[in-house]
């Protein structure tokens, strides 16, 4: 039986963005992350270049 769900492995910025996009499309997403929290490296960053925006 075909599924209409998506598995995303990795809860960093890429995984999260994909999940958000899919979710927006109404598709169920499973986001698998090995750490207790999603966010990945970007959550560890302070600001981003070149705009010096705070990442979080």
């Amino acid at each position: 039986m075909a599924s209409n769900e998506v598995l995303i492995i990795g809860g960093g910025i890429a995984g999260m963005q994909a999940a958000l996009d899919l979710g927006d499309m109404g598709i169920k997403v499973h986001l698998v992350e090995k750490n207790p929290s999603i966010g990945g490296k970007m959550a560890q960053l302070d600001k981003t270049f070149p705009t010096n925006d705070c990442t979080i």
Binding site: M1, I8, G15, G39, T48
Partner: protein, 398 residues
């Protein structure tokens, strides 16, 4: 994820969920448990620059907003008497009996967004990473710069941070040694205390920073590829550091400055003009330290053709963007091919398609990218996945 099978449109995956020993549904993330937890553990999130407790959350805004017990450190799991968290948790969310469990999923598509890992700089012993306290990675630097970081954004030298911590500890140890009449030990401890006090007093903030590019990147011993974002990343860190502390001087040791994105070159120039960054062409040969734990970098200024050594307060390594260490297992499980660098291999014309139809990838899992690129890829991958969901994978299952 422990098992994976199926074809596009109909994948079956078993996901192993580790026990948090906290009931996710009950936990309100009030933090009382952590506050009361007696066990201090170095905080990986901040690269050990500060501590967390045995029950913790990676970071304040962490999602899901649930605390987790670290069974490797929790007294209860070490067979000691404690249970403090269970006692203080008003939501009664603590559940020491919780077990790992498996979840079976049936999905139409998979997106591999496993990101990257920092290159392990201890592989370059001449940089002294891991040995020299004031040589840190670029991500550690992020934590030091972060208002939410261990130093609340003050650019304290790691040796100072650790020294301060040690100084807090020392009186107890000294007292103990006095009690034990361990004269040698006492003398040593007192000497250490004296030295540390002086050190911490004299070296508080790191003002003279060296950024070393291409640590593990563009290096045939490790990664031949360019990690793409590090040049900009280091410049950014240097600029931010200067914003935090106007006396900061930064030196960026580079081979080529790859400021190739939109607005990047201007950013670099601004770094030099406004933030006083100094770009030095030359890859650093080695880092040693002097008696004050100041890192000393030796390098050839290839523009002047002179070998120099420069004493800094802190050195920040622009570690390469490496494929995560466990990615081969994941790939094996998914059946997707990896490239020579262990990034997920993608189709040349469909940059997000892996070797397995219905499995897509995005972000640093398929190669070094900066944030906007990752985001862009993520959206694309989502679109590709959606396509599968929408079409039941027919479009791809040819």
């Amino acid at each position: 994820m422990t098992e994976f099978s199926g074809l596009v449109g109909d994948f079956r995956a078993k996901v192993h969920r580790r026990a948090r020993y906290v009931d996710q549904s009950k936990c309100t993330a009030c933090g009382a448990c952590a506050e009361k937890c007696p066990t201090r553990v170095p905080n990986e999130f901040n690269f050990g620059l500060d501590e967390r407790k045995a029950i913790y959350k990676d970071y304040a805004q962490g999602i899901p907003s649930v605390y987790t017990i670290d069974p490797n450190h929790c007294r209860v799991f070490q067979g000691k008497k404690c249970g403090v968290c269970a006692k203080v948790c008003q939501a009664k969310a603590i559940d020491y009996e919780q077990k790992d469990y498996d979840v079976d999923l049936n999905v139409a598509a998979v997106i591999v967004a496993t990101g990257y890992e920092l290159f392990d700089a201890t592989q370059i012993p001449e940089y002294g990473y891991g040995k020299l306290p004031n040589v840190i990675s670029s991500l550690e630097m992020e934590r030091l710069l972060s208002a939410g970081g261990p130093t609340s954004g003050h650019l304290k030298r790691p040796s100072t941070i650790r020294g301060e911590a040690r100084l807090k500890e020392l009186p107890k140890l000294i007292a103990k040694a006095e009690k034990d009449e361990n004269q040698d030990g006492l003398a040593q401890l007192k000497q250490e205390q004296e030295w540390l006090e002086d050190h911490v007093h004299r070296f508080h903030l790191a003002k003279k920073l060296g950024f070393i590019q291409c640590v593990g990147s563009r290096d045939f011993r490790f990664h031949k590829y360019c990690s793409s974002y590090c040049c900009m990343h280091s410049i950014k860190e240097a600029i931010i550091a200067r914003e935090h502390e106007p006396e900061t001087e930064s030196y960026i040791f580079y081979m080529d400055l790859r400021t190739v994105g939109k607005g990047f070159e201007e950013y670099k120039v601004r770094g030099a003009e406004v933030s006083g960054l100094r770009y030095i062409r030359g890859r650093v040969a080695e880092i040693t330290q002097d008696k004050d734990l100041n890192p000393v970098v030796r390098y050839e200024d290839t523009e002047r053709r002179t070998v120099q050594s420069l004493t800094l307060d802190m050195v920040i390594l622009a570690n390469a963007c490496s494929a995560p260490r466990n990615i081969p297992q994941v790939a094996r499980l998914l059946g997707v091919a990896l490239d020579e660098n262990n990034f997920v291999k993608t189709h040349p014309n469909r940059p997000l398609d892996t070797s397995v139809p219905g499995i897509f990838t995005c972000g640093c899992a398929q190669g070094p990218l900066d944030i906007p690129e990752s985001v862009a890829q993520a959206s694309s991958a989502a679109a590709r996945a959606a396509e599968v969901v929408m079409t039941g994978g027919r479009a791809l299952a040819v």
